[in-house]
Symmetry: C2
Subunit: 440 residues, 2 copies
């Protein structure tokens, strides 16, 4: 099957971040054959799509999410103890395979509608997440969470490892769905379990490890009690600071931490809106990248940043670094888009396969309408994407050569059913919250 996308403004997101003002993309089955300026070649039988001057760029990579938590979006806002008051009780009572499927499908719908084609996820019943992601047609690095706070799907770490093994058994070798192991955070797994995960990872070198790291004040205190360590040092001591580790947040990392992280070749998922909305702080993204650590742009769960699109993150990602540097210069727009595409792919270990539009890579791409008044005129297309484009401007989405959305209609999920199922769970949440509030 040959597809030719013609007459497009193309951002290939290769290393020098070029702009092809008017070009074409040649796709054979799931793979890009050519990306070039000028009109497309004549290929008999090709499916030709005229982009009519619209922008085509790589599908975006969201390297840290809790998809099923779309069910909790906007719940308990502005409440400092919402985690213990609402979320953990609701999770324990309602998070079962059916609810996880409903929440994950709602998130997948939103990801596709906003041009995210690859997502990294950490949650419970992750095999269910993987099945929904598979059906939705996107790519995922999907981590079964291990935690000590009585999570809804395992009563012990032994049980948690069984769930990890099930996930790996079912999806090992899958083209789009990559199983992963996700020790929740240093403080919620502990040194012994981090060491156990490290040993398990020795035997599974192709399975990415995901964890929250250096995110909260309480975590700093936890590490300090281990003989004056910092969170990064605790992870290093457990043997887990290693290539393939995807670290979410990293707000509290100093120069020494960054040196260790760069040396160990770990990667970072930066969650600007989540960190800002929690009032936690600003991650030193410019410094981490300068130290040689790849950083991707992530959303965190939908109850932390509320949306799962990367467009909503772009202005905060840029502004936060400019505020830290007290200057317009830090984090230029072109770097933000690099992080959202090829650098995000590198964070997930997928940069040989996706993240840029070039021959040999998988055909994961999105088409964006640039005509709204709010985006015109355009002097710098990267600035337009970072500061003026909305997720609703994404018209078409392709993953591995398959269209998942055309003209804003998602083809791989049934929108009505997805919304119905999610709202059913939300009703149960509302009733339980009323009960909790009545109990005082």
């Amino acid at each position: 099957m040959t597809t030719l996308l013609t007459n497009a403004l193309i951002l290939p997101c290769t290393s020098d971040m070029p702009v092809i003002e008017r070009g074409h993309i040649h796709i054979e089955n799931d793979t890009i054959k050519a990306v070039a300026t000028g009109p497309a070649p004549q290929i008999p039988g090709a499916n030709i799509i005229d982009a009519n001057g619209d922008l085509i760029m790589p599908g975006m990579v969201n390297p840290h999410c809790h998809m099923a938590m779309s069910l909790f979006r906007g719940l308990g806002e502005d409440v400092d103890d919402r985690l213990y008051r609402y979320i953990l009780p609701l999770e324990r009572k309602f998070v079962r395979p059916e609810a996880v499927r409903a929440g994950t499908a709602l998130a997948a719908l939103e990801l596709i509608e906003s041009g995210v084609t690859t997502v990294a996820d950490m949650y419970y019943f992750e095999t269910e997440v993987a099945r929904v992601v598979d059906k939705a047609g996107i790519r995922g690095v999907l981590g079964q969470t291990l935690a000590d706070f009585d999570p809804p799907d395992h009563n012990s770490f032994d049980e948690g490892f069984v769930l990890v093994e099930q996930l790996v058994a079912e999806f090992s070798g899958h083209d789009r769905v990559i199983p992963s192991i996700a020790p929740h955070a240093p403080y919620s797994t502990g040194m012994a379990v981090m060491e156990r995960v490290a040993r398990w990872a020795d035997d599974h070198p192709d399975v990415p490890v995901q964890m929250h790291l250096a995110e909260t004040d309480a975590e700093m205190d936890w590490a300090a009690k281990l003989g004056g360590l910092r969170p990064v040092e605790a992870v290093e001591k457990a043997g887990l600071l290693r290539k393939g580790l995807i670290c979410a947040h990293c707000l509290y990392v100093n120069d020494s931490d960054m040196e260790k992280m760069a040396h160990a070749q770990v990667c970072v998922a930066h969650n600007a809106r989540s960190n800002g909305k929690a009032g936690r702080g600003i991650a030193p993204v410019e410094a981490m990248r300068k130290a040689g650590i790849p950083v991707g742009i992530a959303t965190d769960g939908p109850m932390s940043g509320n949306t799962l699109d990367l467009f909503s993150q772009f202005a905060p990602v840029s502004m936060f670094q400019k505020l830290l540097g007290h200057s317009r210069k830090p984090m230029p727009s072109v770097e933000v888009i690099r992080m959202a595409t090829i650098e995000g792919a590198k964070v997930l270990g997928l940069d040989e396969k996706i993240g840029s539009l070039e021959p040999g890579k998988k055909a994961d791409l999105i088409r964006i309408d640039l005509s709204p008044a709010r985006m015109q005129p355009i002097y710098d297309i990267y600035s337009t994407l970072v500061f003026a484009t909305m997720p609703t401007d994404v018209r078409d989405v392709m993953v591995a050569g398959q269209w998942l959305m055309r003209d804003r209609e998602v083809l791989s999920l049934e929108r009505k059913i997805v919304l119905r199922d999610a709202l059913q769970v939300a009703s149960a949440f509302k009733a339980e919250m009323a009960r909790i509030d009545a109990a005082g």
Copy 2:
């Protein structure tokens, strides 16, 4: 003419910020007659519009903008000296009545498309701005700028005051277009001219005064040289710190400044994205409001925050205060929406007329589609508006009982012509920038 909007989720934005889950709004000509829960009364000959469960809220108020600068949107991004390198030379060469009309129309199109129904503007050839705003059908508090840096429309302050008088003469008494005087900033007008504006304002008590205040490091230095003053103190000394003064930015205000501002009954236009994108800092919005100063949410010009919708400002407005307070609690979503509506109206001295949906007020309202996956489920409608709604979710816009947009089609401006005219000016800018860059 009677209009009945039925079957709506209504946020009236009156003082206790209620939520009417299912209600109706009764409009006679340009005025709201009733806002109530339940089905609408039977009124013969009424134009009945079923909102089908969509949200209806007051049209939003953007209290600081430079509309015509839409022509500069995204130009010279990430360049610290862009003002002197590009913007001032381009303004001097190209900013003429025709360009101001083109840029203002592009901005008006975007404002309507994103649900902003009232805007405060400061620019040059402001009478031209006023004519375009009048035609577009929105409301404006439109300030002729006075400045000492060789602006494109006046060579002396005497000439500047002539332009102010022309604006006032043409629009005095207009229902929607309110003429205003806009001394650019303390450092760019100087003490003598601020004193002259204060005397002029004594004779024109109904004309709002707008200025940039306490925005930049250089401004702090300027004020310090006047015998150790702070910017707010300089304005006070000039007699300009008075009821009716709309102060944009106010990044550098301490407790003493805030006390003076509250006592003088000045109001503030907060420009979160503009301040963040310039790396300048975070305005102490919570502290100003606690001191009793009304604060509205503004965009600044389209080259400072890039978009003119308030939705793009909401998350930064909230996150910035949460970051300052290192907690989730500051600036809850309901307060953000209050600032975008009734408090913004108060900033412009228009809170008797607009800013909330209640009997006797002008019928300025917007309808928002809540169905996208990214907004569901909804536990707190104010959180949904602040963190998950996009300007593209605004379907209909009414000002003074007239529809300016229906189902996303703007009725008061010709989209094609507006875009054509703006892009023509942008081409001239691009050619001149190439010349500047070639000259080194």
